[in-house]
């Protein structure tokens, strides 16, 4: 799954209210522009320290939109409410309180998410060197100013729906374009700047996507 930072959601404004039966508290993102994966990481950390249960989040492909639907679960029951438009759009939640349960699957694809049928392939997430004053052949030197960023290869195969979803979310992406990509085999998220997106036919009904990305994005 790829989660883009979007223009149409202000995460500082987005209010998510949780009640675990003992405490009611509201969560807000730490900055205006965030990708939803980073928001969920913050939410889980905050909720686990604020309430009695321990929280977890997960995602699954939404087959009707090509985006990703989020799930928030905990070791105890809790209610959940997205109280304003930013939260409803951002998380993909309808208005109203969700009845107390230990796991809540959200109602629609979260803002800026893209989950093509093949998953997103991230290869060679390694540092590369540009030419410059501090450049050297051979060993890569992390941390040298102006040099040694990550330059992974990001590819995916998707359907026409995935193609349409990607164009749609890119249209509302924030500037500069930043995203988090789930690297499933390491169960980690890499944060990248997203450049050109190329698309080619892959068989009769599928498309191959190649994303130009660069790591350690600001």
């Amino acid at each position: 799954m790829l989660a883009l930072q979007m223009n149409n959601v202000d995460w500082v404004e987005a209010e998510l209210e949780i009640n675990d039966g003992a405490t009611t508290a509201q969560f807000y993102g730490s900055s205006v522009r965030m990708d939803v994966a980073s928001v969920m990481d913050e939410l889980v950390t905050w909720a686990t320290s604020t309430f009695i249960p321990t929280f977890l989040w997960a995602w699954e492909k939404d087959t009707s939109t090509g985006g990703a639907i989020l799930t928030l679960s905990a070791t105890g029951n809790f209610t959940l409410e997205a109280t304003n438009t930013d939260a409803q759009t951002g998380y993909g939640l309808n208005s109203g309180v969700k009845a107390s349960a230990s796991s809540h699957t959200f109602d629609s694809a979260a803002a800026g998410t893209w989950a093509p049928v093949s998953g997103v392939s991230v290869k060679a997430n390694l540092r590369v060197l540009l030419s410059g004053d501090a450049c050297g052949d051979g060993a890569v030197r992390p941390g040298v100013p102006g040099l040694a960023h990550y330059r992974p290869t990001v590819e995916a195969i998707g359907t026409a729906l995935d193609a349409a979803r990607l164009a749609n979310v890119l249209g509302d992406a924030s500037n500069p374009r930043r995203a988090s990509i789930c690297q499933q085999h390491t169960a980690s998220w890499i944060e990248v700047a997203v450049g050109e997106v190329a698309r080619n036919p892959a068989g009769a009904k599928h498309y191959r996507f190649r994303l130009e990305v660069s790591g350690e994005a600001v």
């Binding site: 009707s64 939109t65 090509g66 540009l130 941390g143 040298v144 100013p145 102006g146 040099l147 040694a148 960023h149 990550y150 026409a160 729906l161 193609a163 349409a164 979803r165 990607l166 164009a167 749609n168 979310v169 890119l170 249209g171 992406a173 500037n175 500069p176 374009r177 930043r178 990248v192 700047a193 997203v194 450049g195 050109e196 997106v197 698309r199 498309y207 130009e212 990305v213 660069s214 790591g215 350690e216 994005a217 600001v218």
Partner: protein
Amino acid sequence: MAANGPRIMAYAYSEGPVTGVTADIVANSTLAVIEQSSPGTTTYVRPATPELFETQLVTWQTHLFTYTPAGVYTCTYDATTQRVTLATTNGTGFRPVMPGNLAVWLGFTQDLSSGWAESWEGESAPAAVAELLGVTVEPAEDAARVDLAEHRHGRSVATVWGNHQVHRVHLVFSRTTTLAQIAAGYLTTGRVRIWQAGDSTPYSATNVDGYIDGYVIAADDPTEDGDVGELWTLNLLIGVAR
């Protein structure tokens, strides 16, 4: 070709006024009629804003009813015969007048200089619309221009400009569409709407078989396909604002 099959239809530019001989641009926006009972009066009608061909027909029909001396009009396009018919429903004889390029736009390429009738059918297919044998509409592509060549202190920046998306379209015209119809240019320039099939709702990220409504950014030359030139095919690049 059925009316709900694949088709491409052009928009006509217009900026009013809705009646009167004077308008800034009358290329294909203005229809005029002379009624038999008032042969000295020519009534001009046009939409106030740019409109899709089939919407333009309805607008003309409404304005003709309002501004002509006597007639109650219908302006229709038949997708099966691919002809436009202008008629009155109250027995008023009239003669259409085609200012600007309207004769080609509507397919009224016959001599209209004399005679009266209650119904007039174009002798040619209108250049504003083509019924298609098939069409391939690729999903939208984001057309933003992105610069990834900025690295600040080892950090990557993707700056982006752009505000539209594009569709790559491959049109296969039916045998009844002539090269002259395509070469007239209304289907290969300006704003057009392309229906992929029977879905009469717009294309979106969750409705990928809907119609697309955009501006022609680029068009290839028409290509003659088949052993004996049965079909014309054409590639278009359609830009859609967002």
